[in-house]
């Protein structure tokens, strides 16, 4: 490796860092002011790219000049900024008072809707954009050729950083943004209309995302998968840099750019993992990121979001639970094969969702990567059967063990954090697990996964397997419910409501949270193992973000304030999804719209509605 090669490698890392920073700066600004973690930021990036591949070729009809290229790029970013304003006015404005988790979920609903809208408008085929005129050549650097456009990108990052600095320090709008990032309630009490400030911030954030996307068109083909891949990277940048800190985002973007550029040379197999390892390492040492500050308590909800009362089952509840179990057991007798498949899946998801609400509702540990433990359980069971030739029974025992073991490992770091940083770290660990399953092709089969994960002969029939699943899941839910009612559950709620006070009365809050995380991981692992056998295969979607989001949607639909809501939520969510998916090609759009409607109309979920009905809320 000579010096020129290293330099060029480093420069290409800087070019990526520059693009990443432009996008992440918008995300971190929006988070700083609105405290909303905007999943749809990736959608704005994607829309910026799509608008640009439409607009720039149209402008080239007039004149193929660099001026028109950059006019097109800026115009695309402005269009996306307008869409950001639209999102703020129509959706976010209604969300500022709802709990963080609902906000995240609602913005994920927007992600789903935009994905379908993009497929509908631009079609499923990747679109290659035009090259930038005047910047198509390579530049000679120490004997290596380096694309001129990449050199330009290297300049864009610092230029945006400089312009943002001027905006933030030299204009009233910027000063208000910085003040609101610290204490938005006080800014309001001084006479500043927050609504306008938020709308302005969303415009700026979406503009930056759109700019980042539009600048990519000469480099990458535009596709409808751009949104989720960039949003995780942008999350990582903002978290490493410190959420709300623009200079922090720049520092983090440069770090990640260099790590990727050189990591690919040294560890080509685990590039995806490296970035998340860096994030985990930074958060363990600096829990608020490199340049972040601890969350101020000001303006946050005074009441904990989660299970408050733990009523015992009365006559009604016993009857409902009995009926539900009887209905599940009757499905193989009364229903057809498809009904049995759906019922089996509902049972499995009910256990997974219940284990997640055990963390979220009872423990205040908002895991954004619960699918990781579900998926790792599935992979453990699936690989033991297909690669080690073990029968189903020991493989099914291994699934919860694997889920619990990884939950114990990841949870050791996770429970050191709280709030949104905790959620982001769970997401990071889930992405590490996903990346390993995706990239370690020899063992895991990569993207295709592994097929042939079949139950033992005695459980081969759908009906018998259904009863096996029912036994495992109902027992699992019953056992976890027992833990919620036990002193351990009450201790977790105490640690959730005030870690300091719990510690002060002699509770080791962190250890309790760690044990809870491990237990929930084990239950999710069992659910995952059962799922692998019900499908007969494993693949990386079992640990991917969309499944984690599905689990969250289930518990929110069910109501995180109630103990049993998660079970009802899993059943309702899976039924809705199963109903929409075959009905239309645009199921994502309807799922996203349903999630948003759910958050806006039904903020306490089915369980909350039931509790109100029974006069217990």
């Amino acid at each position: 490796m000579d010096l020129g090669f290293l330099l060029v490698q480093s420069l290409s890392g800087l070019a990526s860092a520059s693009s990443l920073f432009v996008i992440a700066s918008g995300l971190t600004l929006v988070f700083g002011v609105t405290r909303i973690v905007n999943f749809a930021h990736g959608s704005f990036y994607m829309l910026g790219a799509y608008v640009a591949v439409t607009l720039v070729p149209w402008l080239f009809e007039f004149d193929r000049s660099p001026l028109l290229f950059f006019t097109g790029v800026i115009a695309s970013a402005l269009v996306v900024g307008g869409l950001g304003v639209l999102m703020e006015l129509l959706l976010l404005r209604r969300l500022y008072k709802v709990p963080e988790l609902f906000q995240l979920l609602a913005t994920f609903g927007v992600v789903l809707m935009v994905q379908d809208a993009v497929l509908w408008i631009w079609g499923p085929v990747e679109i290659s954009g035009p090259r930038a005129p005047g910047l198509r050549h390579g530049v000679e650097i120490l004997g290596q050729r380096f694309p001129a456009y990449e050199l330009l990108l290297i300049g864009v990052g610092p230029a945006v950083l400089g312009l943002l600095w001027l905006l933030m320090h030299r204009t009233r709008f910027g000063i208000l943004i910085r003040a609101a990032t610290r204490d938005r309630e006080m800014v309001g009490a001084l006479g500043v209309n927050q609504a306008l400030l938020f709308t302005g911030t969303l415009f700026l954030g979406a503009f930056l995302a759109g700019l980042g996307g539009a600048l990519q068109i000469p480099r990458v083909a535009v596709s409808s998968q751009m949104d989720l891949s960039i949003i995780t990277e942008a999350f990582v940048v903002t978290v490493i840099g410190g959420m709300g800190s623009v200079p922090g985002a720049f520092l983090a973007a440069v770090l990640i750019g260099q790590l990727n550029a050189f990591g690919v040379l040294i560890f080509p197999k685990i590039t995806l993992v490296l970035v998340f390892l860096l994030m985990a390492a930074v958060l363990v040492v600096k829990p608020w990121g490199l340049l972040g500050r601890p969350e101020t308590a000001a303006g946050r909800a005074a009441l904990p979001e989660g299970i408050l009362a733990t009523p015992r089952f009365g006559a009604w509840e016993k009857a409902i639970a009995g009926l539900a179990i009887a209905a599940m057991l009757a499905v193989p007798v009364l229903g057809d094969g498809y009904a049995v498949k759906v019922a089996t899946e509902i049972l499995i998801f009910a256990l997974a969702a219940f284990s997640l609400n055990f963390l979220v509702g009872n423990g205040g540990i908002v895991s954004f990567g619960h699918a990781a433990y579900f998926g790792l359980g599935a992979y453990a069971a699936g690989l033991l059967v297909t690669k080690a030739g073990l029968p189903m029974e020991p493989a099914l025992l291994a699934a919860p063990v694997a889920g619990a073991a990884f939950a114990a490992l990841f949870g050791f770091f996770v429970v050191r954090l709280t709030g949104i940083y905790l959620a982001m770290l769970t997401l990071a660990f889930a992405q590490i697990a996903y990346a390993v399953c995706f990239q370690w092709v020899e063992v895991t089969g990569g993207d295709n996964g592994v097929v042939g994960v079949w139950p033992s002969d005695w459980a081969r029939s759908r009906a018998v397997f259904h009863y096996l699943v029912a036994a495992c899941c109902i027992l699992g839910i019953w056992a976890l419910r027992h833990v919620v009612y036990a002193p351990f559950g009450a201790t977790l709620r105490a640690a959730r409501d005030s870690e300091a006070r719990a510690n002060a009365i002699g509770i080791d809050a962190r250890t309790h949270r760690w044990l809870a995380f491990t237990l929930a991981g084990g239950a999710a692992g069992l659910a995952g193992g059962l799922y692998a056998f019900s499908k007969g295969s494993i693949d990386p979607t079992l640990l991917a973000i969309p499944l984690s989001v599905d689990f969250l949607a289930m518990i929110l639909l069910g109501g995180i304030q109630t103990v049993m809501g998660a079970v009802a939520g899993a059943a309702a969510f899976h039924a809705i999804k199963d109903f929409f998916m075959p009905l239309t090609d645009h199921w994502r759009f309807f799922l996203g719209a349903s999630i948003i409607a759910l958050v806006l109309v039904f903020p306490r979920g089915l369980g909350g509605a039931y509790g109100a009905l029974r006069g217990r809320a």
């Binding site: 610290r182 800014v187 309001g188 001084l190 500043v192 209309n193």
Partner: protein
């Protein structure tokens, strides 16, 4: 009782399921200083927050400068001319002193000359020396001056001042008393919450005593000073 700028009648408010205020009544005359006295947890800060719109008002009425402002958004209340100086100061520590003042700036409502950073630096010379510095580097007393100056930048007709003397050195407390009297001299009405009778007696014309969320005494400051029974029942710690 000629010309009230702020009239609070029977407001109730609280945090979640906990009720804190059970029908608070008080009146602030235009250009006057009133002190809301009471022990820790009596409901002083909660009353001011409820008036400012920072806490939902569950019942009762608040009239300010001719408008019913109960449950308005805080920014509308501030724009109507009511300033708020919080107990915990809530300085924007990422901003410089001058930038903190800029956040508070609003157009004058006519009549009095508008507040400018220069005029405020005259009253609080310490701030002038630190104008370009980060507010995070300030002492508690300097932060208290900044938070008052920041509110005055909004050119308010009346100011809610939450525990202005709390936790400050005696020399700074004196400065605070001077600042309150200066506001009064400028024609700004002040409603301050206070535990120290000495401080309140030095600045206020009228006194209210609050205990467990209701007003137990309303009268002139002199009357409160004369009423030994009220003082020992509700104020002495």
């Amino acid at each position: 009782m000629a010309d009230p700028v702020l009239e609070v009648s029977g407001i109730t408010a609280g945090y979640g399921p906990a009720e804190v205020l059970f029908g608070v009544d008080l009146t602030l005359e235009r250009g006057a200083v009133a002190a809301l006295m009471g022990r820790n947890g009596a409901g002083k800060s909660t009353t001011l927050k409820a008036i400012m719109g920072l806490l939902p008002v569950r019942g009762g009425r608040i009239r300010f400068a001719g408008a019913e402002i109960a449950n308005w958004a805080p920014y509308r209340i501030a724009r109507a001319g009511l300033g708020y100086v919080p107990e915990d100061r809530r300085i924007f520590t990422d901003l410089t002193v001058a930038e903190n003042l800029e956040v508070g700036r609003r157009a004058a409502r006519g009549g009095r000359p508008p507040w400018t950073p220069e005029r405020l630096y005259e009253i609080f010379p310490n701030l002038a020396e630190m104008r370009g510095r980060s507010a995070a580097a300030m002492s508690g007393g300097e932060q208290q001056m900044l938070t008052i100056a920041r509110t005055l930048m909004g050119n308010p007709d009346a100011v809610l001042l939450d525990e202005p003397s709390e936790g400050l050195a005696p020399v700074i407390v004196e400065l605070m008393a001077e600042a309150v009297l200066r506001m009064k001299a400028e024609g700004i009405a002040v409603l301050l919450s206070e535990q120290s009778l000495d401080f309140a007696a030095a600045v206020a014309d009228r006194a209210y005593v609050i205990e467990r969320g209701s007003i137990r005494f309303a009268g002139s400051m002199e009357a409160l000073e004369a009423d030994e029974a009220i003082r020992t029942t509700y104020l002495t710690v």
